[in-house]
Symmetry: C2
Subunit: 271 residues, 2 copies
């Protein structure tokens, strides 16, 4: 499981102080402390930090450092995508150095040679990538679900590119048999997930959309392999904004309890 | 025309001083001063700045401010793409406020509802967007050129999404008849460009790949409309790293001369 960290100023609980970025930083620290005993991984949404420019980016870096000091795995949700040296630069900025995340989400629309420099930079850093294959929004359906002349869908073609590139160099595959290049597969498309699971046997799936975005335990089952590995289920708003449903509770307590409940739900999928 | 600003430390000319980000900032300022009399627009590549984290992001913001103080149009080449509030946050960070660029490149793989929040944030800011439709790299071909069951290609389907969304609200279309939502169409695919030009009559095309990446004047002609409007031709390395071909010249002089030559080439397309 993984808790998405999407700071939205207007939805933060009362009692934080200072500038918008100071409030965001305090809140992120509080959320990380509240969820750390319930989740192995967190996923900061870059857009929420970049909204505040260089100042927001500095907060992002400190939040990543703090999360790593707690022992959390950090998946930077930046959905970056470019080609050549630009891809390598994004990967170097996000996945190497003191404030490095452990993994980065990337966009595959530029194809295999756009993804390869990310993978080549991630490998020596011991980091991972999750390429967007299938998203759970209506507009994602309209494009990614289009039928190709060869009978596949667009997202299945992207899945094949990801599977092929992810196994194209020995160093891309770890001891577990999984590739450093994983896939983002939305939680609200169980029928698609089963096909994508077959197409990408060596990909870890990052599965957003659990909870507030609509997916439930049954919807994500197909993202796992029969041995119970292979998927990381993420929830964001249903956990981090849990104070909205429990206005009388301390918000840290509400977030911690929501993370614990999310943990139980994910565990129940695997039973 | 538009000059791409892709600072790569290893390729900067001799004579710069300080830390990597200080050298990059000095060089960007010098390039902007050298090209301003030859080009209306510049396109900083976000990856080259983000490579250096928050420090690089701060340099990016100062470079954008300086470019705007010179009267240049700034197209932020960030290729951002997300959904909902995250798209809106990226747009707010990049296109509003003191260090706002005039336009941002975006990725359309998440579909129309991923792009719409960008457009809704760009409109009140008087800013624009360029959605990736067709890129000129080999991997882009392999995915974007796939044939759909309905006879179109993947990139043509994306073009239709861009054309439809770009005309979906009256405020999206300016006095010129062009939409605030434009399209990135690579310079090395003239045969594709003509079809895409027909599919997207209200889109300005941002056309990378001129010069060092392989496209010449004949290759980009199809991106223009018959009246000579509708395309922004960009060149990066052939202009900004012109000192590599003229080691005895002052690098600023070499860059300025290369920008002037690029200007003449673009003008010759329209004759």
């Amino acid at each position: 499981m993984c808790v998405g960290l999407d700071p939205v100023l207007e939805r933060l609980p009362a009692g934080l102080s200072g500038t918008p970025t100071e409030q965001i930083e305090q809140w992120c620290i509080g959320v990380l402390e509240a969820v750390v005993e319930h989740t192995p991984a967190v996923k900061p949404q870059l857009a929420c930090f970049e909204r505040y420019g260089a100042e927001g980016y500095a907060v992002y870096e400190r939040v990543v450092s703090f999360a790593k000091s707690l022992g959390l795995i950090v998946i930077a949700d930046g959905k970056r995508g470019d080609i050549g040296l630009s891809s390598a630069h994004y990967a170097a900025g996000m996945l190497a150095g003191d404030q490095a995340a452990d993994a980065l989400t990337v966009n595959a629309y530029l194809g295999a040679d756009g993804l390869e420099p990310f993978a080549d930079a991630a490998q020596p850093a011991g980091a991972g990538l999750f390429a967007l294959v299938r998203t759970s929004n209506t507009g994602g359906d309209a494009l990614q679900g289009l039928a190709l002349a060869d009978g596949r869908t667009v997202s299945q073609a992207v899945a094949q590119i990801v599977a092929d590139l992810g196994a194209s160099k020995p160093g891309y595959i770890g001891e577990s048999g999984y590739s450093l290049l994983g896939a983002v597969v939305g939680a609200t498309k169980p029928q698609d997930a089963a096909v994508l699971r077959d197409l990408m046997p060596q990909q870890l799936f990052l599965v957003p959309g659990f909870g507030a975005q609509g997916g439930g335990p049954e919807d994500v089952k197909a993202c796992f392999k029969p041995d119970g590995t292979g998927a990381i289920i993420t929830a964001s708003r249903s956990v981090i904004f849990a104070h909205e449903q429990a206005p009388d509770k301390d918000w840290r307590l509400a977030v911690g309890q929501a993370a614990a409940e999310f943990n139980r739900q994910v565990a129940s999928i695997l039973k």
